[in-house]
């Protein structure tokens, strides 16, 4: 596996994405909404001043886990284009005729969905944490973020969720021919992440670092399983004959 070959494919995809406005808007809008809207909602009606300190801290800590959903949503926007776009432009045949292995192409394509999604999630997460700290420091007297939960969330759970979403979208893209259908099906991978967030919100699952470590372990196992499945599907003959 020559990583530089995969990177050539990724760079080309980045150049194409720069001209796709809906991809850029998706990458910017969703992280911004989540990072500003959630903490900002407490400013309405002066709620932040009336909340007890412990409740204020637990509110922000539980809201933080919403950033596990973001890396599941964003790759579906990009990966569905990344793979189906090649199908629609009928560019897979000349691409596969180059001295590049299937694994290098798959990695290149996956990176082009993974890198911007992860970067957008990190930027959104950073804005959320800084904004939350700005809002709460006066009341709490200490910085709420970063903490162990955010460390586990952003270092382990978020990248693993992102990988899972990319792999799931590779599989979905291999079965449908339409970008919109791929996006609609690809976004189904959000459901398990949404479940984690809702369980945390309802108190059924504590959203502490230990619990997030366990979630990361499950995501890792799922990543490995989907990796083998996506590799089995991404075969050049399959792609050329069946991806019509």
């Amino acid at each position: 596996m020559r990583l530089w070959k995969s990177w050539i494919v990724t760079q080309k995809d980045f150049a194409v994405f720069r001209r796709k406005r809906y991809i850029l808007y998706s990458l910017v809008a969703l992280p911004l909404i989540l990072s500003l809207l959630l903490p900002g909602s407490l400013l309405i009606g002066g709620a932040i001043g009336q909340m007890p300190s412990t409740l204020l801290a637990s509110f922000f800590r539980s809201e933080e886990t919403i950033f596990i959903i973001l890396p599941a949503i964003l790759p579906s926007v990009i990966a569905s284009y990344s793979f189906i776009g090649e199908k629609l432009e009928k560019s897979l045949e000349p691409l596969l005729a180059t001295p590049t292995t299937d694994g290098e192409l798959l990695l290149g394509k996956s990176l082009s969905a993974f890198v911007p999604s992860l970067a957008a999630t990190y930027v959104g997460g950073l804005i959320f944490m800084v904004f939350a700290d700005l809002l709460t420091y006066g009341r709490l007297g200490y910085l709420l973020f970063p903490d162990w939960t955010s460390a586990v969330l952003f270092v382990l759970a978020v990248p693993l969720a992102c990988v899972l979403s990319v792999e799931f979208n590779v599989i979905v893209s291999s079965r449908v021919n339409d970008v919109r259908a791929a996006q609609q099906l690809g976004v189904l991978i959000v459901l398990p992440m949404l479940a984690i967030y809702i369980l945390g919100e309802t108190g059924a699952l504590s959203s502490g670092p230990i619990e997030l470590l366990a979630v990361s372990g499950i995501l890792l196992v799922a990543d490995i399983a989907l990796f083998y499945l996506s590799r089995a599907i991404f075969q050049r003959e399959e792609i050329l004959i069946k991806w019509r």
Binding site: K5, I8, V9, K12, A15, V16, R19, K20, E89, K90, S91, L92, E93, P94, L95, L96, A97, T98, P99, T100, T101, R236, E237, L240, I241
Partner: protein, 307 residues
């Protein structure tokens, strides 16, 4: 340069290519003809290692299509123009070619020089920074041709390079292929255009799942059609036909005032024919040779195969 031996491809129960054995020499332009679904594209895909073969063997240069360790080396010496150009509409012509130059492992300077040379040859250098999405079909086809040549391949596979092009673009593409022929590049050309094959190719192969015939256009013409002499007379009568029958030309086809005779050696047969006709009182206006087009040969072969 290209050798196949009993090459076969099956998709489940459907046989796309059967028992294809052929050889294309270095610097040769080989035309591959056949009706839709005859297996031309499947053959090229197998030779470019895009799909696997079911049976048989094939080599390009020193590399075998069956050996997975040869695949990347083989693809480095091969250039491929697919039926669908498959360019990135959101990238410029230059960026499209540069991307492929990097994938074919050209150095930056090699890639830059090749792009400039090819785009200038194809008359598109001044549009190098325009998005490919704004190009006409003919311009896109030229960019796709440049892409196939970006790494200076030894062997070039062209799948229907002039299909769906307007006559002017088709001519430009054809002229460019003729330029490549002068460079002594090995070219494997899939085409429906018989006139194009006749003009460009050194040899042609006619495929209908399995190969029907492989030879030069002239040899195919001679072996399948024979040679025919046409005599234009002022009028034809039984006396003339009887005179021809006497010298061994019993099977004479008459079309208006023309006589069509199958000859083996026109240099010897034609004077005897003219002399017999004149001797029988005939008045010969012209003597010509009937040359079948490649289309006549193709249709005869394909129809014979169907029957």
């Amino acid at each position: 340069m290209i050798e196949t031996e009993h090459l076969t491809k099956k998709f489940g129960d459907v046989t796309a290519v059967q028992d294809l054995t052929l050889s294309v020499g270095e610097g040769e332009v080989f035309g591959f003809l056949g009706p839709n679904g005859a297996g031309k594209t499947t053959t090229v895909r197998m030779l470019c290692c895009l799909i696997s073969r079911t049976e048989g063997h094939a080599r390009i240069g020193d590399y075998s299509i069956e050996e997975s360790r040869d695949r990347l080396k083989l693809q480095k010496i091969v250039g491929f123009l697919p039926e669908n150009v498959g360019l990135y509409d959101d990238l410029s012509a230059y960026r499209n070619l540069e991307f492929y130059g990097r994938l074919y492992e050209c150095s930056e300077s090699q890639s830059r020089d090749a792009i400039e040379r090819l785009l200038k040859m194809l008359g598109l250098w001044d549009r190098k920074d325009s998005l490919v999405g704004t190009f006409s079909k003919g311009m896109k086809q030229k960019i796709a041709l440049a892409r196939a040549l970006i790494h200076d391949p030894e062997v070039l596979f062209l799948d229907e390079p002039t299909a769906n092009l307007d006559p002017e673009s088709a001519k430009t593409t054809r002229d460019f292929i003729l330029e490549l022929k002068k460079e002594k590049r090995t070219i494997f050309l899939n085409t429906h255009n018989l006139d194009e094959a006749q003009r460009i190719c050194d040899r042609i192969g006619i495929l209908k799942t399995s190969p029907v015939a492989v030879d030069t256009p002239a040899n195919l013409r001679a072996s399948l059609w024979g040679r025919k002499t046409v005599l234009h007379l002022s009028q034809i009568n039984d006396k003339i036909l009887e005179a021809l029958r006497r010298i061994g030309f019993g099977e004479v086809e008459t079309v208006g005032n023309r006589l069509l005779l199958k000859v083996t050696e026109p240099e010897k047969d034609n004077p005897a024919i003219v002399s017999a006709v004149v001797g029988a009182g005939g008045e010969v206006q012209f003597v010509t040779e009937l040359r079948p087009t490649l289309e006549d040969i193709y249709l005869r072969l394909v129809r014979r195969e169907t029957e």
